[in-house]
Symmetry: C2
Subunit: 470 residues, 2 copies
């Protein structure tokens, strides 16, 4: 099939698509703050209706609504995941322009949420529109699931998924996260690492004390430091008892894909401004560690007084946040169990572990339909083959959406960001050329999803089981 | 000598002394805020002039003035240290009445600064007045040095001392810090521990990154935790190479005094709400550790994100503040050198050490005149012998004042606070009975300073070298 007409439509409407994205980015929707969420959710529902989708807003408990929308028809059905909430803006002074001003400078749209991931949602809906306007009805059924709690570890999505497994039955799922690497190659992920996000806490006196008591009153900050120092070695290796024995060996597919992956080490080092990588890794070893290595990251430590002014105190409590990224066969439950046993065995029975959030890993076969459709469509639009990662080093609530049915729905993830999009930091941005390329690419993916031969047939998706707003 | 007339004068003027203190406490003088400082400094100078002192306000650079006042005459000369600034008030909601309302309820005066240490200054000046009114001219020369930067680590005082060593030549020094312990015994300190307040810093990427990079990008929080874990053992022992070899053994005086010291362990544990003391110490061992043990306290750690909301990041920097309390023969310079060598030897060359502040220890002989005068005068006023600490576990700029000449001026410290005065927290307070007792006690100390036989003669103080306001 030729995409000439489709591409022409996209190019002609590029400005209008961009304005839609700017409008959406100008509506703040920081889930952690909770303001403006309903307005954005309604806007998303309207945008889905605009492309003819039947929609429904699912409200789970007191959470932010999940917008569900179904459009197109065909023998196959695919989920398209998105989220309308955005990360907190952080220090305003670090932004070159207001995070919700959605300013375009030199072809770059700067806004909180532009990259993560309002841009992806708008691009995909634009592709649906362009497809319909140029070729008519979609040849597949697309089920959009757009949540508002990505920044809150998606509690509503998990409940929604467990209560509406039927709505999530599909031949595959397209996730919303992705970018071009520093060499401008589209990155396609065939899954995500899992995550266990934990808080470790130690307690001392009922309040901060004068530090003259330091010689005789237990200091929870020292306690926490000592406990943490047993978890990861000075060389950066996770030293929790039994942990490494649960890391599965690479499959032959994994090894095959790994051969094609080469990190832009110099570019990344320049971007991060670091002298070298952990334990001096380079090349294949570095890529393997990034993709297949489990991690244990201290995301934050808080204890005592660290503001301006000399205040010599003995802290009353100390807290560390640890984030484990999990590869097969590590589960969040297992990590908590192993860590608890590890700390107890070393006498740290007093160090509390609280679970802040978790998600299982998801890993799809490169032979699955979504993977093949995504990989095969990339060359024409991007001018070079994509880089296919067996696992995204990041995590997401993929397990909620794709694990609602058994066997799990194969997932693939890609997006319109670039290596400098800084999706969690200041000056989050996308390049408009990438955005328009993303629209063109998604049109081809839609087509591929319908046209591909099914090498591994799965159960057909049923018709939606709920009444939708049309 | 009988103090009947003196005591009668004090009792008759108790109310007036209290009102003076209330007036002073109603003038806010938080050095960290910097407002109202000049007014309080002027007030202090007037109070000194009121008892006939020649005064001078020393202004060092842009700092708050140091009020110097000299009164009395005799063959001996003693320094009396004080400070007119007060601690920040902290959370106003935690106060039962305004921190500068200086309300008296049930014989307790509640105000920021009442205990630390405007009450001591007013009591000492009241004692001078009562002495003069009942017995005439002071038989010794008292040199008051009252600074306004106690809360800022006394930068001006250090410069003042180095430029005016002659003004600080004296037979002894009375410091302003002190209280009755939980058993209502007057605590007399014969010195202070030194302090080295350091900041350790590790750097990673130029900014916080998405934690998916945790497997390959160096994490400064892990780096800092690993470095810190080598500094103090899990049992709380300082493990810096060579550190313990610089801790001097106790003198026979120290051992003698230690025998009379008993901590109110149950009372303190209740106050701090802790189950037990560090490494399960109790009794003599506990007191010895508190007084003679060097400490290394983590006062604060800051790295990454620890606020509300799940934010899984890889921090770009990590900072810990360490406060070492120093006993003979540990100096701040030595601690920095030893720590640097210790970290370097273990490969932590990248962990920066910044010095935030320091003060040397000060330790006087119990045979010094100020010590004997303070100890001998206590029984009559307090009805029981004082508890004599060879070292206060806290620190102060004693080195500036008492180290300006060689050999250092012997120092002794006591005050009018009680165990529940909470000098750095909300509802700082003193009991008026303690305040009046403090006036009576200081009258006797003045007398003792003049009358005591000089067992260890020192160089005579010279006449003041500056022109004073009379």
């Amino acid at each position: 099939m030729s995409f000439t007409r489709f591409d022409r439509y996209v190019d002609r409407h590029a400005r209008s698509f961009t304005e839609r994205l700017q409008d959406l980015c100008r509506m703040p929707s920081v889930a952690a703050r909770g303001t403006g969420m309903r307005a954005v959710a309604e806007k998303v529902e309207q945008m889905l209706q605009r492309v003819g989708a039947g929609t429904r807003a699912f409200k789970v408990g007191s959470g932010f609504p999940i917008i569900y929308g179904e459009c197109g028809a065909g023998p196959r059905c695919f989920l398209v995941y998105g989220h309308y909430d955005v990360q907190p803006v952080g220090q305003l002074t670090e932004w070159s322009s207001g995070p919700f001003a959605a300013v375009v400078v030199d072809g770059v749209l700067r806004a909180r949420g532009a990259s993560n991931s309002k841009g992806d949602l708008v691009a995909r809906l634009a592709a649906v529109e362009a497809y319909q306007k140029t070729y008519g009805k979609l040849p597949v059924c697309l089920r959009f699931v757009v949540e508002g709690e990505d920044g809150l570890a998606s509690p509503s999505l998990y409940r929604f998924a467990s209560e509406n497994a039927g709505l999530l039955r599909a031949d595959g799922c397209v996730w919303d996260d992705g970018y071009k690497d520093t060499r401008e190659r589209l990155v396609i992920n065939l899954g995500f690492k899992g995550i266990a996000f934990l808080e470790l806490r130690a307690y001392g006196a009922r309040t901060d004390l004068h530090s003259k008591w330091g010689g005789i009153v237990p200091n929870p900050a020292w306690r926490l430091v000592q406990a943490l120092s047993t978890v990861v070695s000075p060389k950066g290796v996770i030293t929790i008892d039994g942990f490494s024995s649960h890391v599965a060996p690479l499959t032959s597919d994994d090894r095959q894909m790994l051969k094609t992956i080469e990190l832009d080490e110099a570019g990344l080092r320049r971007e991060f401004r670091i002298g070298g990588w952990l334990h001096g890794m380079t090349g294949r070893e570095l890529a393997k560690e990034l993709i297949f290595g489990p991690t244990c990251t201290i995301c934050g430590i808080r204890t005592g007084h660290t503001e301006a002014g000399a205040k010599t105190i003995l802290p009353g409590a100390a807290t560390a946040r640890l984030d484990f990224r999990l590869v097969p066969d590590l589960t969040p439950e297992l990590v908590v169990t192993l860590l608890r046993e590890h700390l107890d065995k070393r006498g740290f029975l007093d160090v509390e572990i609280n679970e802040l959030g978790s998600a299982p890993y998801a890993k799809s076969s490169p032979a699955s339909m979504v993977a093949r459709a995504a990989i095969e469509a990339a060359g024409e639009v991007y001018g070079q083959p994509p880089v296919v990662y067996p696992l995204d080093p990041a995590s997401g609530p993929v397990g909620a959406v794709c694990g609602a049915n058994d066997p799990p729905t194969p997932v693939v993830s890609f997006g319109i960001s670039h290596a400098g999009s800084n999706p969690h930091g200041p000056d989050e941005n996308i390049r408009l050329d990438d955005f328009i390329q993303g629209v063109k690419y998604f049109g081809r993916v839609i087509h591929g999803l319908a046209a591909l031969e099914d090498e591994a047939p799965q159960k057909r998706a049923q018709t939606a089981l709920v009444k939708l707003n049309k």
